[in-house]
């Protein structure tokens, strides 16, 4: 069990903010950390790694990483950290990047095999694609058989298909190594696929904590479909109005009545929902 009870004053974009998190994480579980930018997710991850200071306590099993008396250095915590922008050692080959962490050739070969990088092991990171580099970073983070794996938006710099492939590999590696994992992510589908628990942070505090299903599937009552979107434009056509809404990467048109259109302004965050209907998935 990992017990986290920390506070830290942060200077965010909207002034002073207090990060105050109390969390217990089961060993071997996969927790996703999400929330709007500036909510303190990355800072929490860095505090867990020991890369930033905080008040409070962090205990992992019998070990105390942080309490009033001391803070164990990142070197002593035995963690894995995957950064958003890979952060590979440019002066070393792929294999050397892994062996730098721990001189365990068998484990390195095994990890490179799983991630289909074995053939590239003598190459330098700069000659690899973004997806390949992030796979190397993932392997590197597992080389010391960490007690805790921390990932800071590991896939956000990659395109859709590469992201899916890496998600599969993360699942594979998590299943094999059973490493307790905390991952920061903005992508609901990614969280749904990977995590067994999702924690939502807003302004430094936990506002939701549950399974991805209960937290992310935002349907209530008899609504079958509900999407969050941004209102881009309201076009008036005779007596009705047509709203153009951006939902994720897609634009949709929704018919509005005169009264509905009255209360809306371009730029609003709105929810588009529909009841009782049978969608066709093709």
């Amino acid at each position: 069990m990992i017990r986290i009870d920390i506070t830290k004053a942060l200077l965010g974009s909207e002034g002073l903010m207090e990060l105050s998190v109390s969390l217990a994480i089961k060993e071997g579980s996969f927790v996703a950390l999400t929330g709007s930018s500036g909510s303190g997710k990355t800072t929490l991850l860095r505090i867990l790694a020991g890369l930033e200071s905080a008040e409070g306590t962090i205990c992992i099993g019998e070990e105390r990483w942080l309490d009033a008396a001391k803070s164990i250095a990142p070197q002593e915590r035995r963690i894995g950290f995957v950064f958003q922008e890979y952060a590979l050692f440019g002066n070393m080959t792929i294999e050397e990047n892994l062996l730098f962490v721990a001189n365990d050739k068998a484990l390195a070969a095994h990890l490179l095999d799983i991630t289909e990088l074995y053939a590239l092991k003598t190459r330098r990171p700069s000659s690899l694609s973004g997806g390949q580099q992030q796979r190397v970073a993932l392997c590197r983070a597992l080389m010391n058989r960490p007690k805790l794996l921390l990932m800071d938006e590991p896939l956000s710099a990659l395109d859709g298909s590469m992201r899916y492939k890496l998600q599969q590999e993360i699942i594979l590696l998590h299943r094999e190594f059973q490493t307790t994992t905390v991952m920061v992510s903005h992508d609901p589908s990614e969280i749904y696929r990977l995590a067994s628990r999702v924690v939502v942070l807003e302004s430094g505090h936990i506002v939701h904590d549950g399974t991805p299903k209960t937290v992310l599937l935002q349907t209530s009552g008899s609504q079958k479909f509900a999407f969050e979107g941004e209102l881009l434009e309201i076009q008036r056509v005779d007596v009705i109005a047509i709203a153009v809404v951006a939902i994720g990467q897609q634009l949709v048109e929704v018919v509005l009545s005169e009264q509905e259109a009255e209360g809306l302004n371009v730029g609003d965050r709105i929810q588009v929902s529909t009841k009782a209907f049978a969608p066709v998935i093709g």
């Binding site: 790694a49 890369l51 250095a73 990142p74 070197q75 002593e76 915590r77 035995r78 963690i79 894995g80 950290f81 950064f83 922008e85 952060a87 590979l88 050692f89 440019g90 002066n91 730098f100 962490v101 721990a102 700069s126 000659s127 970073a137 590197r140 080389m143 010391n144």
Partner: protein
């Protein structure tokens, strides 16, 4: 011409290069921790230290030379302490030249190293800490190898700058053959006695060697940049 070449006394050149090599090694040892500290620290003392290390760039060599004379004189506290401890006389000796050169060339080693450290990806260094590596291992195995152009610039420019020293060396070392008479001082003396032929030759050799060294640095850095961009394999 051939006659002239045969008469060349190489000792001043050898001395110049010896002085430059020793100074570079000492300065590298001192400057890596100093530059690393300056790149990491948020302490208020940082601008103070930076200004202090940059002083030799703006000061006339005579100012530095004057204080060196005062500092290293056998009658001074430092001069006496060094003499008692190591039995070394610093003024008008090769050792004294090394001490003076270390002060004079310090910014040329510290500044490129510091900006090299500052330009590194912080996350890469953090990845090394998280992997359990100490600060020193991180500096020598991750930081320095990933800033080769800055490293080359620091070492070569320090070396070249020390070879090109004149004012401080003359004041602190004088012109003792085989001990403190480096190439730049030798040329000065040739001009003074109006031996222009020899001065020409010495000066030309200095220009040729200095240019070769600088060309080497710039070529190396040019290639490194291409390598980083992935264009040069």
């Amino acid at each position: 011409m051939l006659e002239l070449l045969k008469t060349i006394e190489w000792t001043p050149f050898i001395l110049s290069f010896e002085l430059a090599a020793v100074t570079t090694v000492i300065l590298f040892t001192i400057s890596v921790p100093l530059a690393w500290y300056l790149s990491e620290t948020k302490a208020r003392i940082k601008p103070f230290i930076e200004a202090l290390t940059a002083l030799p760039i703006v000061l006339p060599p005579s100012v530095l030379g004057f204080y060196m004379l005062v500092l290293l004189a056998p009658s001074s506290v430092v001069g006496r302490a060094v003499h008692d401890l190591f039995d070394v006389q610093l003024l008008f000796s090769f050792s004294g030249l090394v001490v003076a050169s270390c002060f004079y060339s310090l910014p040329f080693m510290v500044q490129p190293l510091q900006s090299g450290f500052e330009s590194l990806d912080r996350r890469m260094l953090e990845a090394s800490y998280v992997a359990g590596k100490s600060r020193w291992t991180t500096v020598f195995r991750v930081a320095l190898p990933n800033m080769k152009p800055a490293l080359m610039t620091a070492i070569i420019i320090t070396f070249a700058h020390t070879v090109g020293e004149f004012g401080v060396v003359l004041m602190v070392g004088g012109s003792i053959v085989g001990e403190t008479k480096v190439a730049s001082v030798a040329i000065y003396e040739m001009v003074e006695v109006m031996d222009y032929a020899a001065a020409h030759l010495y000066a030309a050799i200095m220009i040729g060697m200095s240019f070769a060294v600088l060309l080497g640095v710039y070529t190396f850095n040019y290639r490194q940049r291409y390598k980083r961009g992935g264009l040069y394999l």
